[in-house]
């Protein structure tokens, strides 16, 4: 018999207590580092960074010159990118879901692949293709006319638009999925023409379009890969890079960096929070409560072929050219270097990948380190995100839960570079290093930051599936004799297993290729994969860097394929019947 003392009702205290513990975790992981760093924008003296308790001097500094230009550039580029991404995503989502276009199962898979490729890899791959003596030139295609354009706003917008496409696509797809064709039918039956029908139906997916725009805008504003690579080399400053440069140059100017971070947060958090509020208020779920038969527009065969080819072209440009170009480039004997005579292919870069070179180590150590980081960060993130997601789904109005919800919503949009710099600043404070714990420039700090950057997104990723598990499924298990652990193991785990696996794989892949936090926080002589590749590229060893990128990408895809294969082999048949949304009773 389980006996409880009920002095203060323990079932009421427990949620408040666990909520406070989770909030402390969230506070240490995200709020304290980012918050204290942001305070520097106006109060450098609080942390011994200057004489002023309150000043706006750093605002005028940050908003002028190169840093000011960086903010302006980031804003207009993000607006253009978000507009382009939503337009492309809406067209693609409509074609895939509402027409008989060929390859309707293939395109979403390619979208996932696109989602997994970080922007710095994409930039590098495009450079491999377009540069003089690059992959395209090896195939006899002259790209010199395009290369100059690529090194500038055109290339930056192109790469970022392609990178934002999956974010916008997944959101618009979800909106379209819930919009049964009966709404269009109802409008037509009641006398609406094509235009009037469109005017009636489009507002129904307006939340999805707004969400897609907000996410694309926030992702572009907070991207570090393109500003660190393409924009920097194009002398086109962008906010995340100028922030990084402010603390990387000597003497570091944390206050100016804090102002830029504040601008980034002010431009990325509100759209994400707004999007969250809008989608919550006008939930897709209310539209998609029932599976409706969707009527597809039937193209004639020539039109169908043409439209399918156009969709294919998007993926050829977005995925095929850069990936193919990088693979081809990694086998070119003299990638990017003038050489007399015919083009020669060689595997020399792959030999160099595993041999010691400029960083004093071969590729194996950084690759191994990144895998370890991925393993730990993904496992810790999934475990914590599950707890947070369950917490968010509790129907309680306790202040800690509401605060956690707001924190998580906001944290999704905190750029990695802001978090990284926040960690450098906060965990190097004397009161922490002397009296509490000295984590500065250590591997645990890097792991904490990687978990912190992945946690908010993962929590929201899990929130939907967790909410779909009817409480009665677990209650039935308890009532039919299962103790707490068996109830979780036999009901919640099987129902969440596929989502957990995908969450783990996404975090693993993103951590392996993560750039800003790794670049800012890696301990001396322990460079992760992405930092090592950047070091090779910075040293003009483009071929070796490209070969490393290809190996890294292949490894990510091999791990994903192996994990999914293993899941099919080792899990019971019933587990595999549960899809993403099939977890209702």
């Amino acid at each position: 018999m389980t006996t409880l003392q009920i002095g203060h009702s323990p079932n009421r205290r427990a949620p408040a207590l666990s909520g406070s513990v989770l909030w402390i975790i969230l506070g240490l992981l995200i709020v304290a580092p980012v918050g204290s760093f942001l305070l520097l924008a106006t109060s450098p003296r609080l942390f011994g960074q200057g004489p002023q308790y309150f000043t706006l001097r750093f605002f005028s500094q940050a908003l002028s010159g190169v840093t000011g230009q960086g903010i302006v550039n980031s804003l207009w580029v993000s607006l253009v990118v978000a507009t382009l991404a939503v337009a492309m995503a809406t067209t693609l989502a409509w074609l895939v879901q509402r027409t008989n276009v060929y390859g309707r199962r293939l395109w979403p898979i390619l979208m996932w692949l696109l989602f997994l490729i970080p922007t710095w890899m994409m930039t590098l791959s495009w450079v491999d293709v377009l540069q003089p003596y690059g992959s395209a030139a090896a195939l006899g295609v002259s790209t010199s006319w395009l290369y100059g354009e690529f090194l500038g706003p055109f290339g930056i917008i192109t790469v970022l638009s392609i990178a934002s496409l999956p974010f916008a696509y997944f959101v618009v797809s979800a909106g379209l999925l819930g919009l049964g064709s009966e709404f269009e039918d109802a409008a037509r039956i009641h006398g609406a023409g094509r235009a009037a029908t469109l005017r009636t139906v489009v507002p129904m997916i307006a939340p999805a379009l707004l969400s897609a725009f907000a996410i694309s805008f926030a992702e572009t504003m907070s991207d570090f890969g393109v500003p660190f690579t393409l924009a920097y080399h194009s002398h086109f400053p962008m906010a995340t890079y100028t922030l990084f440069a402010s603390i990387s140059t000597y003497p570091a100017n944390f206050s100016v960096a804090a102002v830029i971070a504040l601008v980034l947060i002010l431009t990325t958090v509100p759209p994400i929070v707004l999007q969250s509020v809008v989608t919550r208020r006008r939930s897709y779920a209310t539209l998609s409560g029932r599976a409706r038969e969707v009527r597809r527009r039937e193209f004639s065969t020539p039109a169908r072929l043409a439209v399918s080819a156009a969709v294919g072209l998007v993926f050829v440009i977005g995925l095929g050219v850069p990936v193919g170009g990088a693979v081809l480039g990694s086998f070119l004997r003299n990638l990017g270097i003038y050489a007399a005579g015919p083009v020669r292919f060689s595997s020399v870069y792959y030999h160099q990948v595993f041999a010691p070179s400029i960083v004093g180590k071969g590729f194996a150590a950084p690759l191994m380190l990144s895998n370890q980081l991925g393993l730990i960060a993904a496992s810790a993130t999934v475990a914590l995100a599950l707890v947070f997601a369950r917490r968010l789904m509790l129907r309680s109005s306790h202040w800690s839960q509401r605060l956690t919800d707001v924190m998580l919503m906001g944290s999704v949009a905190v750029p990695g570079v802001v978090l990284g710099v926040g960690y450098v600043f906060f965990y190097n404070q004397g009161f922490l290093t002397t009296h509490v714990i000295d984590l500065y420039k250590t591997m645990p700090l890097l792991v904490l930051a990687l978990v912190a950057t992945a946690l908010p997104g993962q929590t929201r990723f899990f929130s939907g599936p967790v909410a779909q598990i009817q409480p009665s499924l677990t209650e039935a298990s308890r009532v039919h004799g299962a103790a707490r652990w068996r109830a979780w193991r036999t009901t919640s785990l099987p129902l969440m297993s596929r989502v957990m696996l995908w969450g783990w794989l996404l975090t693993f892949a993103k951590t392996i290729s993560e750039l800003p936090i790794s670049q800012i926080l890696y301990p001396p002589s322990q460079e992760p994969l992405s930092v090592t590749i950047q070091a090779y590229l910075g040293n003009f060893q483009l071929g070796t860097g490209t070969a490393m990128t290809v190996v890294g990408l292949v490894e990510i895809f091999v791990v994903i394929a192996a994990a999914l294969g293993l899941y099919r082999v080792v899990t019971p048949r019933g587990w595999q019947r549960i899809g993403w949304s099939g977890v209702g009773a």
Binding site: M1, T2, T3, L4, Q5, I6, S9, N11, Q470, S472, L473, E475, A476, S477, R478, V479, H480, G481, A482, A483, R484, R486, A487, T490, T491, P494, L495, P572, G574, W575, R577, I578, G582, V583, G584, A585
Partner: protein, 364 residues
């Protein structure tokens, strides 16, 4: 396992200042089939969840088979209460086959015995051929049968039913109602069944407890609840054809009264009352559908006009207006009376009761 007894004492539960269970006490004998009847929000689901251990009461005690499972210093978790439950939404685990769902509670049994028990239950509820299917491959009725088999397969003394038929269509509901009533008694367990459907409650129960606003309003065998409702709420909730204003004229026999309808002239109606009423008191007359009939004789009953008529297979149900705007429903007749035709409405004293108007005003 033998049937368990159940004792609930002074159970109280509040959710954010709203009292959902207010000092509820009841007892269920071994092998008895108790139905908790009440409208939405009456607290019946909360009571059932407290019995299951899914919710904790703020005060009061629960004893299952003479073992205290919930009290001021005691809380036994659901898995240790030795009970099972049929959920309103079935709560079948979608990743487990029918066989695995039904055998879930028998995890500690030897495999051959478990298999025999599961096969037996699947056979009894008529879904043996579906044993290897998954819940999403079954119809609503089949899913409910799996939930029933799962609850009965568990070797427990008490089975809880949370409105198990509410998601089914009328035909399946009737069929499954009979199966639940018979199988539960065959297996020999004690059952607590909640519903808001009075027909279901009267058909299945050995004992009925009527709940309203978290309070236990009346309990007893179905016959006594039907024939002797203690107040207007119970009378209305357990099914009425007429609810009319009257004036009490005089007592006649034990708890019998003659009452006058304001629109019926000198005509008197005989009814009974659960409490003593004084002559001249304004009250309300409640009449069960079984106690109303139509007549063509001019000297019988009160005058009315047929407003609607519906064919119900064995005859016709009429809606009749009496007085200026009083309506009597479910008035059965084997012959059809056309709309707007004049009829006489007669009340049977055994199915008519009168309650003081103040109580009658307590409409729910």
């Amino acid at each position: 396992m033998k049937a368990a007894s159940l004792e609930v004492r002074h159970l109280t539960k509040t959710f954010a200042d709203k009292v959902v269970l207010d000092d509820v006490s009841l007892s269920v004998a071994r092998g008895e089939f108790l139905v908790l009847l009440g409208p939405s929000g009456s607290g019946k689901t909360t009571l059932l969840r407290c019995l299951a251990g899914i919710e904790r009461a703020d005060a009061g005690e629960i004893e299952i088979d003479e073992r205290l499972v919930a009290g001021p210093r005691t809380f036994v978790t659901p898995d240790k209460r030795h009970l099972s439950m049929v959920f309103q939404d079935y709560a079948l685990w979608p990743h487990l086959s029918v066989r695995q769902n039904v055998g879930y509670a028998l995890a500690k049994w030897p495999a051959p015995e478990r298999r025999r028990r599961v096969d037996d239950l699947l056979e009894r509820v008529g879904i043996a051929p579906l044993a290897e299917r998954y819940p999403n491959q079954l119809s609503g009725g089949e899913q409910q049968r799996v939930a029933l088999a799962r609850a009965l397969a568990a070797d427990v003394g008490l089975v809880l039913f949370d409105e198990p038929l509410s998601n089914l269509d009328a035909d399946r509901r009737e069929q499954l109602r009979i199966e639940i009533a018979t199988l539960t008694r065959e297996v020999g367990v004690t059952a607590v069944y909640i519903t808001h459907d009075q027909g279901e409650a009267f058909a299945m129960a050995d004992q009925i407890c009527v709940l309203n606003h978290g309070r236990l309003v009346q309990s007893g065998p179905p016959e006594s609840v039907y024939r002797e409702p203690v107040n207007a709420f119970v009378a209305r909730f357990t099914g009425l054809a007429a609810d009319l204003p009257v004036e009490v004229l005089c007592p006649c026999g034990p708890r019998g009264y003659d009452v006058a309808l304001p629109f019926a002239g000198d005509h008197r109606v005989r009814a009974h009352a659960p409490v003593t009423l004084a002559a001249g008191v304004r009250a309300r007359l409640y009449v069960r559908a079984a106690g109303v009939r139509l007549s063509r004789e001019h000297h019988e009953g009160i005058a009315g006009t047929v407003r609607d008529v519906a064919f119900v297979g064995r005859g016709y149900e009429h809606v009749v207006q009496v007085g200026e705007n009083e309506i009597i429903t479910k008035v059965f007749s084997e012959t059809r009376h056309e709309r707007d035709s004049a009829v006489r409405v007669c009340f049977d004293a055994a199915s008519s009761f009168v309650l003081a108007d103040a109580e009658g005003a307590d409409r729910t």
